[in-house]
């Protein structure tokens, strides 16, 4: 394909076939935001049901389906894709690269995630959603649940494959595609956190793949992994799930930490405090993430030695996390803190996350966990952690990088109103849940009887949810209201890292010339030690770009078809789906595709605009 041909594609075809990391990032954000909204509506439905005791608004079965899908959607289809959106868009820009290492696989990863996500959600219309919780403990999930679990297990398998591909892509991108001069220890912290999170993805998702494989085998092919009468063991599932599931928590948290590590220095006008310590703390958290999973299983009956070992290992995570918190505080110390909305998110993250963190240590106390486990205390804890870190990180990142990604700045007043409303709602909703748990309220209950001392706090909790929803609405409104605030400088926040050296809107080749990095915080260094312009590592020339491809959609569609065949035990359909997959892979492997070049004249034309 030539440059001229590449320009001629229709908008729709362009987005369907794109391998541009920026467009894929935006698609991740859009799809993630869609699922986030759905998951949020489910949360509201649940809080509506639990607002009053003995409520019959939602039947118990439906409630179980909603609670399962809320967790599943929020973790797999909202939080991770939204983070992937930022990683995709920002990481190549931060390391001074034109694209990711595997543009084709990047696109494949996105479409796999989307088709998998759609597949899981189709269960609503085809016989009922999964109802065994996002953890889907067997045998409830294997032999006591309906067809929804088939959709669950296959859909998440497909989207998990996409995540794994994405993880490998980020790893190779970060290792191989850094601009000259950017050593590992000069990388921005968001990139570092993405790197460690990607390692976690690489090692955590295969365990989940095996877990889902076994569950699928039991449900669809009649194997006996979890059939006790045939010698199966149901604890195997819990191990496999949590070997994945605990690192997953850090897969969600680390990129958010990375976002805060960009926002806080930028708006404090100060270099991050203890960069090296931050990097090693990140790696340590990643390592511990794999060594503590059984703290989700304290009550399963592994025995006191196992419980003690995992309890102590879990407590140890508090140390590197504490290091990070103090480093953020000390970064702000002595700085000049400009309280933009992004910074407000980062500032509110610290107390919220610390509260989630300390309850985490409390949960690590194994003997006390016998009281906490599976109660609303746990619900409160992980919402403090996930909303406190991941969701605030996502919102902070959105306000911070919005001008970079969409060429306009979000309204600050509306933004602050949104975040304050959202946080008031959040603490109202979840703070009381700590006490609900200690007062004896188990989690995942479809309703509760009156007179158990829970009524008042559930009412408070449900009212809080309304504030959160109202806040989120303000955010959506902000997106549309702010469209007129065009951003043309490319560097609205006096940024420190390479992504702010690019003109706005971001050209498709990112950097006209590959930048030369001379220090950590490369842009800041040039601003205050150099002439404010980033040095180029190469002469201006034609830029090589990869061709788009429709094959990722076809491969994902093939797996989608295959999954249908498996759910309905129609092997011919499953076979046909597999044939589509291998056919498309065959085409990909046989067709050599060397991309096209953007001529230097086009690039100078763009540069003139700056």
């Amino acid at each position: 394909m030539s440059y001229a041909e590449a320009q001629k594609k229709s908008v729709l075809w362009d987005w369907l076939t794109t391998v541009d990391h920026k467009k894929i990032g935006i698609m991740y954000l859009a799809a993630g935001a869609f699922f986030f909204t759905i998951g949020g509506i489910m949360a509201l439905l649940m809080r509506a049901q639990l607002m009053f005791p003995n409520s019959s608004l939602i039947p118990a079965q439906t409630f179980n389906e909603i609670l399962t899908m809320h967790g599943t959607i929020m973790i797999f289809l909202a939080a991770m894709p939204l983070l992937f959106g930022f990683m995709n868009y920002i990481v190549p820009l931060q390391i001074g690269a034109r694209d990711v290492a595997f543009p084709f696989l990047n696109s494949l990863g996105f479409w796999l995630f989307l088709f998998g996500g759609i597949f899981v959600n189709l269960s609503w219309f085809l016989g009922g959603a999964p109802d065994a919780g996002w953890t889907s403990y067997v045998p409830l999930a294997s032999h006591y649940s309906g067809i929804g679990l088939d959709f669950f297990v296959l859909g998440l398998q497909i989207s998990g494959l996409g995540t794994l591909i994405g993880g490998i892509n980020f790893l190779v991108t970060i290792i191989n595609m850094r601009a000259p001069g950017m050593s590992m220890m000069r990388m921005p912290l968001f990139t570092w956190n993405t790197f460690v999170a990607s390692i976690l993805i690489l090692f955590a998702f295969p365990a989940l793949t095996v877990g889902y494989l076994l569950l699928m085998m039991d449900r669809i092919f009649g194997s006996n992994f979890f059939v006790v009468e045939m010698g199966g063991n149901v604890v195997i599932w819990q191990h496999l799930f949590w070997i994945f599931g605990h690192p997953e928590v850090y897969i969600l948290a680390l990129p958010a930490f990375g976002i805060f590590s960009e926002i806080i220095p930028t708006f404090s006008k100060k270099r991050i405090f203890g960069y090296t310590a931050m990097v090693f703390a990140t790696m340590l958290i990643g390592f511990y993430g794999f060594m503590v999973w059984a703290h989700h299983m304290f009550t399963v009956g592994l025995g006191p030695v196992a419980n003690s070992v995992f309890a102590i290992a879990t407590m140890a995570i508090a140390v590197p996390t504490g290091i990070k918190i103090f480093n953020w505080l000390l970064t702000m110390w002595g700085g000049r803190i400009k309280m933009t909305t992004a910074m407000l998110c980062a500032a509110m993250f610290i107390p919220t996350f610390v509260m989630g963190g300390v309850t985490g240590v409390m949960l690590a106390v194994s003997a006390a966990d016998y009281q906490f486990h599976d109660t609303y205390f746990v619900v409160a804890h992980f919402h403090y952690v996930i909303v406190g870190a991941t969701v605030l990180g996502l919102f902070g990142g959105a306000f911070y990088w919005w001008p970079r990604m969409f060429g306009y700045t979000l309204n600050e007043k509306l933004g602050k109103a949104f975040i304050i409303l959202f946080l008031i709602g959040f603490h109202l909703t979840f703070f009381v849940q700590h006490f609900l748990g200690l007062y004896g309220m188990p989690r995942r209950v479809a309703s509760y009887l009156p007179g158990q001392g829970w009524d008042g706090m559930n009412l408070v909790s449900s009212s809080g949810a309304i504030f959160m929803a109202a806040g989120f609405l303000l955010f959506i409104i902000n997106i549309f209201v702010s469209m007129k605030n065009k951003e043309t400088t490319g560097d609205p926040w006096d940024g420190r890292t390479l992504e702010w050296t690019i003109p706005s809107p971001t050209p498709e080749y990112n950097f006209a010339q590959t930048p030369l990095v001379r220090d950590y915080d490369a842009f800041w260094y040039e601003k205050y030690q150099g002439d404010g312009k980033i040095k180029a590592a190469e002469p201006l020339g034609d830029i090589h770009m990869p061709n788009g491809s429709i094959l990722p959609i076809i491969i994902s569609f093939g797996l989608f078809v295959m999954a249908f065949g498996l759910v309905y035990h129609t092997w011919i359909v499953a076979g046909a789906g597999l044939l589509i997959v291998f056919g498309a892979m065959f085409v990909r492997s046989v067709k050599e595709d060397h991309g096209y070049h953007i001529p230097v004249e086009e690039i100078t034309k763009d540069k003139g605009g700056k």
Partner: protein
């Protein structure tokens, strides 16, 4: 990373699989993928080890496994690892025909291995009445060894596609990394088999 692109078009670099950025990316990405596969197989091994005594009254490891068959399979796979090494050495020598020939030998050895494995599964199913659904042990056994077998099958298919696609092109900077990663995959299959014959078969017979 820029210096590799100054490579003359007609010269033969010492490591043609890593001579371009694409090749380097592919090489490294594939290694990382193998890292993920380590965890995948570890999970399957763990499951098998957890369930290997759960025969639910059906046949167990010591009733089933035959050392001679496993030994032959092991030798086939081990030798195929060596032939794929020779294929890469031929590639680096600029002997493209040698590369193709050694790869074909690898494929044949792989097919031999696969044939024995299919025979083995057939034997267990028919003569020992060990179906996939007989017991937790049988499910775990077939899933672990079957996943390895599926990897062998995929590897054979992959190499054959490469051999046919590039039968006439000669060695290029695009196909060198493809051949190289295929042999990495093949070695990895061998590495997993070392654990399978030890943990599943030998430990199964030995106690």
């Amino acid at each position: 990373m820029a210096e590799n692109h100054t490579v003359e078009q007609h010269s033969l670099p010492p490591n043609p699989e890593k001579a371009t950025l694409e090749g380097k990316n592919k090489y490294m990405g594939f290694w990382f993928f193998l890292g993920g596969e380590v965890v995948l197989f570890a999970s399957l091994f763990g499951t098998y080890l957890g369930l290997r005594n759960s025969t639910a009254g059906g046949p167990g490891p010591s009733d089933l496994f035959h050392l001679d068959l496993v030994f032959i399979m092991t030798m086939l796979l081990l030798t195929s690892s060596l032939t794929s090494v020779f294929a890469i050495i031929s590639m680096k020598r600029g002997n493209y025909k040698g590369l193709l020939a050694w790869m074909w030998v690898t494929v044949l050895l792989g097919l031999g291995f696969l044939g024995f494995e299919i025979y083995e599964f057939w034997d267990y199913t028919v003569n020992y009445e060990l179906g996939f659904t007989t017991s937790a042990f049988s499910s775990a056994f077939y899933t672990l060894v079957g996943t390895h077998g599926a990897h062998v099958t995929f590897g054979i298919g992959w190499i054959i596609v490469l051999l046919i696609r590039y039968a006439k092109t000669g060695l290029t900077l695009t196909n060198a990394p493809k051949f190289y990663t295929a042999t990495l995959y093949w070695h990895f299959i061998d590495v997993v088999w070392v654990f399978i014959f030890t943990v599943v078969y030998l430990m199964g017979i030995g106690g």
